[in-house]
Symmetry: C2
Subunit: 315 residues, 2 copies
């Protein structure tokens, strides 16, 4: 019998995703990093690759449980849960799944702008509950086209979002560390300046310590009472307490949010707000994209096993 | 005292809209065409213009109540409620409010595609109801970008929709009476051929008898079990019984609908469906656009009163 070589780690893998991974390599399974110490010693010795899906910290202590571990293949573009520095110190490679999910995440960002501004969740409820028949027109809402959009972080996903919003005749502004080559989009040196110049602020940053609370209470004040913020990045990128305060007291008009601190047990204040559209971190959640993601995760593992160049390495 | 010159007809005018019209001309008010016969004879004699908002039939019999009527200024681009032939026979001009609402309606069409395909109404409920915290990820949904879109009716609004969907990397197909000058979009001679070639079928026809039940049961079968239909035109343009059957039995995957027969007292079968996003005919329902619409309606009336060229004549 071949030795186990793959550890599948993540309670959120779907049955078809697990089957795909299990079909490729002899594998063991844990729900997440916290269960890794419970894998028996003999199996731990044989693990050469981890297929990871999740947002719980995966650090050096867990890596040390697997002396022959060579690659951690992350499912998702954001790998902030994985301590990449610790991996590097142990000569462990890390991969992620960029590009294949950019379209989906950008689609959801635009969907959040449209659903929030045009009161679409409320509108669906207005029809289904019979209030349309009973009370007539629902209250008016706010236009989307021809407004000003500000993208925070003009990486792969940020660019896809900007391209779509340009088709809504929006004036595109962005903030990134340095000015980029764009079709006339306006760069801002800091997020507060950006927020002050736009109607929609769309956060498309990477997660991790460098972007912790990147959008501050000051940026939300600059966005102002007609402004709407959209976050499809990580809950950590916005000062969440400041965001909740701003949504409750009218400092900003509303929000469209796919990500939160402490997902999925998010702050209960969100559910009481009627000026937000909330999504359960489903930016990449289409059948088509999730299939592409597990294929790319597996392709990275296979490349490592076969001694070939990794498809989408992080380190 | 100046004679009354304007009849404001429509229960759905908002208070600011009515104020805007009342501030311009000495006016009388009725909830709709059915109340016009109740206006006293002396007032009827003085009416030269009707500002209309609504979807109830406004025919020759109502026009004959006002012997000095010269213009019916419709609020909205679709004037299918007004019998334009009867108006012409009486030398009554008809105007509408095109262009100013095209962006809003196109925005809502794209919003319906995104909300339906990415399960956004369901997603918001999944978060707010606590099911995310309790059960984890919601079921996967369907990708929007890189699919094929089919526009039925490539007028002003249809074109705006196509322009936006092109930014989602969609292949654009369309059906209109004759082939049009487009950036490589594919024309189809009939709606069934179009439906068979696409993933999303977006109906952007004008209303009225010429387009009654234009989308048939056959077209819905051609769209198929992965297809989604979006209607932002009029409830009359789709065979509604065939649509409800197709949504209930899986002939098509889903729908995003802003318009229905017998609005706002729509067929109760719609509210039971979980594969549709329903909106209360709010395509042009932003504060910004509704303001532009009443201004254009009034500009047409003023042009008529002043003997100048109408801004946006229908006949």
């Amino acid at each position: 019998m071949t030795d186990t070589t793959l550890l599948i780690a993540g309670a959120s893998f779907s049955p078809p995703e697990r089957e795909r991974l299990e079909g490729a390599y002899l594998s063991a399974y844990v729900n997440g990093p916290s269960e890794m110490a419970g894998v028996d010693e003999a199996t731990r010795q044989t693990i050469r690759a981890v297929a990871y899906k999740g947002h719980h910290p995966f650090g050096g202590a867990e890596m040390d449980l697997f002396p022959n571990l060579g690659v951690i293949a992350n499912y998702g573009v954001g790998y902030d849960a994985i301590d990449v520095m610790a991996a590097g110190e142990r000569s462990i490679r890390v991969t992620n799944t960029p590009d294949v999910l950019s379209d989906d995440v950008a689609d959801l960002a635009v969907g959040l702008i449209l659903a929030q501004s045009r009161s679409m969740v409320f509108g669906d409820h207005w029809v289904r509950s019979g209030q349309w028949a009973e009370k007539g027109e629902m209250p008016l809402n706010r236009q989307v086209s021809r407004k000003r959009a500000g993208i925070v972080g003009l990486g792969r996903i940020g660019r896809e979002i900007a391209d779509r919003l340009a088709a809504f005749k929006m004036e595109i502004h962005y903030h990134s560390r340095s000015e980029k080559d764009t079709p006339g989009w306006q760069w801002h040196a800091d997020p507060v300046s950006l927020a002050g110049a736009v109607d929609f602020l769309v956060v498309a940053l990477v997660g991790g310590p460098d972007t912790l609370n990147y959008i501050t209470a000051e940026a939300l004040r600059a966005l102002g009472p007609d402004g709407v913020i959209v976050n499809i990045s990580r809950g950590t990128t916005i000062d969440e307490t400041a965001l909740l305060d701003a949504l409750e007291d009218g400092t900003i008009a509303g929000a469209g949010l796919d990500v939160f601190l402490n997902e999925p047990k998010i702050n209960e204040r969100f559910s009481k707000l009627d000026n937000v559209v909330l999504q359960p971190h489903q930016g990449s959640g289409s059948v088509e994209t999730r299939h592409e993601m597990v294929l790319l995760q597996l392709a990275n593992i296979t490349a490592f096993m076969d001694g070939e160049a990794l498809k989408t390495p992080v380190n």
